[in-house]
């Protein structure tokens, strides 16, 4: 073996894959989440996020849901998706669906429960199916118009300060409008959603 080959070998052995700085915080966040210390988990995930982990954003969103802050969770899930769409899985989708459900965004909840249901395990599938059935029953045509009005008001209010949350709300209004027999304020909802859609990506965050 030549001398340069030995040098290469030595360098390869020395160059262990570095542990990303966010890793210990993700581990600490997972432990805190498991211990139901969701406030601590949220802090750890936020620190991991600040240190460059885009995956941490998904777990921060789940922690927000557990802290009883469903709107913040919905917003965090939208932002997590925008920064790293690939980092989600069926379990995170169930959490996301729950955030939407608790925030009263039923079409959004249905969408994520459906997506998760196609990949979830046998324990979850019937529960998700039951939830989706209940959502279908709750979407009574007579109640759609007032719900759309409320969503558009809230979405417009938040458009300037929390565009990601406003986007989720506008999307819900748009989806409800499409189901409304009169297409109640559909054009308005579509326009608001389009205005709040994420700007084209400019590379990894």
């Amino acid at each position: 073996m030549s001398r340069s080959s030995l040098v290469v070998l030595a360098l390869l052995l020395a160059a262990e894959p570095a542990v990303p700085p966010s890793e210990p915080h993700l581990v600490a966040g997972a432990e805190a989440f498991r211990a139901e210390a969701y406030d601590k988990a949220l802090v750890e995930f936020r620190v991991a996020e600040a240190l460059g982990s885009t995956e941490a954003s998904w777990y921060a969103a789940a922690s927000l849901l557990k802290l009883g802050r469903p709107e913040d969770a919905v917003e965090a899930f939208v932002l997590a998706e925008r920064s790293n769409r690939a980092a989600t899985d069926a379990l995170l989708e169930v959490y996301r669906g729950q955030a939407c459900y608790a925030a009263g965004l039923l079409i959004c909840a249905d969408r994520w429960f459906e997506s998760a249901g196609s990949r979830a395990g046998p324990r979850l599938v019937p529960q998700l199916k039951a939830l989706r059935g209940a959502i279908r029953d709750a979407l009574q045509p007579a109640q759609l118009a007032p719900a759309i009005d409320g969503l558009l008001t809230r979405g417009t209010e938040l458009a300037g300060t929390r565009p990601a949350l406003a986007f989720a709300i506008a999307e819900e209004a748009e989806a409800l409008a499409a189901r409304s027999p009169t297409r109640h304020r559909q054009a308005e909802a579509t326009a608001l959603t389009a205005r709040l859609a994420a700007p084209p990506p400019r590379g990894r965050r």
Binding site: P17, F33, E36, G52, Y59, L91, Y95, A134
Partner: protein
Amino acid sequence: MKRCALMLVLVLASTAGAEELAPRTRALLHEALEARLTLPTEPPSLQRPVLPPSLPAPAAAAARESTTAATRAGQNAAANRAAQDVANGRGRPSDPSESARNAAGQARAAEARATGGNGATHGNPNGPPPGKGGGKP
């Protein structure tokens, strides 16, 4: 020259993927989420729930005060540890840059304020109230 280039490529290839989540970390995260997964039991409603405000800008002063309260209550022990960790660069030999440290510190402070501040009103270390996504099945 060619050998140098090859060497560089090999070394870079060996360190590539350092930003990937370690399988063990991913498994820990997955297990934690799975262990605490609970599905809502209350019927769905198109009526949007009345939610407490989530740290609006005018509440900044209150949030500053709540940081002290949170510290007193010992709620942000993890936050302090995390910030200390970040500030010291402990456990991260790679390169916690100054800006990353600052960002982490800010994240810690913001969340400590948010969780501490909301703790008095709607934060709940044991999970959300029933019907807010955290009820036991």
